[in-house]
Symmetry: C2
Subunit: 157 residues, 2 copies
């Protein structure tokens, strides 16, 4: 499976989340929640940051670290997401048999560990879906209908 | 990407969820929750049912439908999951270039629609992760530490 359609799935839903949050009163997206990254907004900024930090690591770019406090509104998280997306997308457009089975070196906790490209990419796909699942519970608590989590019938494959 | 490691990821975590639920008092897994399938237990039974119903549909087996009320305990859901898994796994072990790009016909709401194998498989991967994200919020409400959602460092790829 080429991983790009699953990233595009996440990006569609991410944009729907950010639109949905922008339509809610600020106190809903800054309200402390159990689990995730404290608030709905910070959880969305965290999704963007983790995806970008991992993909730059995979590409060998040293130490990209984002501060979630830099994105205090849904509009700011949307701009952040739009800025990071081309880097991630161009990495995935370049996916091929070498990536399917290959390994890169990541520095984690001061140690260098080998990680498979497919494992890292699977991690990022699951990471966003997991947090979007959490967001869907908080959204219903806030009276918002969450975006559909369905992959099928989006024309992505 | 071969989809099997992502299914194995979901199955590992599913088993951890079912063990975790079995260790909680019954009122926690039968308590009504906002979102998902009403309770933690029914949401887990729903994950198993949807995966098995989709894969049998993909294989052309007509109308497999499970009743979530048939699985009233974590142990019953675990048995249900164990019974369904070989069908799903053998389908995925047979994954290859024909599945990567091929299409099957599904009957949805009385209409026959073409769906790509990769799309259906991506849908099932996301479906379980989405619900596990919801479960993680409810678990924390119940005082349970949810299983780690990390894909990396599980030796699955």
């Amino acid at each position: 499976m080429n991983p790009l359609p699953m990233f595009r799935y996440n990006w569609q839903i991410r944009d729907e989340w950010l639109e949905g949050l922008a339509a809610l009163p600020e106190e809903e997206w800054t309200k402390p929640r159990v689990g995730g990254h404290r608030t709905m907004l910070r959880t969305l900024a965290h999704i963007v940051a983790v995806e970008h930090e991992w993909i730059t690591t995979v590409q060998g770019v040293p130490d990209v670290n984002h501060d979630l406090d830099d994105y205090p509104t849904p509009e700011a998280v949307k701009r952040f997401s739009d800025e990071c997306r081309p880097t991630v997308e161009s990495f995935l457009l370049d996916w091929g048999p070498d990536k399917e089975t290959g390994t890169f070196e990541a520095s984690i906790g001061g140690k260098t560990v080998p990680i498979k490209y497919a494992e890292a990419v699977g991690h990022l796909i699951a990471h966003e879906i997991h947090h979007a699942g959490q967001l869907s519970v908080w959204a219903r608590e806030a009276g918002m209908t969450p975006p559909s989590p369905d992959v099928v019938f989006r024309g992505l494959f």
